[in-house]
Amino acid sequence: MRYEYIEPFMKSTIEVISKTIQSEISKGDIVLIEHNEINDDVAIVIKIAGDSEGGIILTMDTVTAIKISNRILKENFEMLTPLCLDSLAEIANTITGNAISLINDMGYDIRTNPPLILVKDNGVKNIFNVEIFCVPIFTRDGDITMNIALRTN
């Protein structure tokens, strides 16, 4: 994977999440994983095609997902509703769109698809069969991981 693909995703992840939840966030060290399981409860998957293929998987545990979606929606849900999941999908969609825009402005041609929401019962897995760069994001509502799984064509 080209590093120049990673940097826009990291930049976009930090900018979009901090703006959306309106609070400071920080990121941890990037970890490279090769196994197929992602140990989190909720995953938003966005497939990417074009000069690079694969996708991103934004993951978090259920408690974090409820807290963050409540903050965005200004609600007080006690469980994950379809609207909660949709608000998280919109965050992932915005991160991906912004990152792809930065990459495409460098002369590449990458396209994105609508988000797919997975919860643990359905199996949260790395569906891309490519190594993943995991970027941990620490927020006041819990930790989120941005998993970037892209191969260069």
């Binding site: 979009v16 703006k19 959306t20 965005i72 929606l73 379809p82 609207l83 949709d86 608000s87 999908a89 919109e90 969609n93 915005t94 991160i95 991906t96 769109g97 912004n98 792809i100 825009s101 930065l102 495409n104 402005d105 994105t112 698809n113 609508p114």
Partner: protein, 135 residues
């Protein structure tokens, strides 16, 4: 959601919001209502957006790009081909130059990238409704 009085319209306007995200439609709908507009239709994809557009003939269409079935760019093309007076604002997380230029050349009046702030969206809607062109 409170807006400065200078942005609120005296005359109500009809608006359709096309976005596959319920959350996004809800957010944009709040902005439209806050400036005196009426959301007369919501579409989850481009096909629904085209059907609603020609049935309702709104004053303005707020259109996402990444949608299932038919994306925003194809939707924009089809609507503008049939009605070149359509007032369409693209609101998308995709904001690279080529995409923006493509949308504007196809007839979009403005291009807003997500994440946006509500005042920015209000001002653009007002500008497009009043002037009918990209400002």
């Amino acid at each position: 959601m409170k807006q400065p009085n200078s942005i609120i319209f005296n005359k109500s306007f009809k608006c359709i919001i096309a976005d596959d995200s319920q959350f996004a439609r809800m957010n944009i709908g709040k902005i439209v209502s806050s400036i005196g507009g009426q959301v007369t239709g919501e579409a989850k994809n481009g096909i629904e957006a085209i059907e609603l557009y020609f049935r309702i003939k709104p004053d303005i269409l707020l259109l996402d790009i990444t949608m299932p079935e038919l994306d925003g760019i194809e939707t924009l093309k089809i609507i503008m081909d049939k009605d070149n007076t359509a007032k369409i604002i693209v609101i998308s997380s995709l904001g690279h130059k080529k995409m923006m230029l493509n949308a504007i050349s196809l007839g979009a009046k403005h291009f807003i990238t997500k994440p946006y702030n509500s005042e920015q969206v209000s001002l653009v809607i007002k500008s497009v409704l009043e002037n009918g062109a990209d400002q």
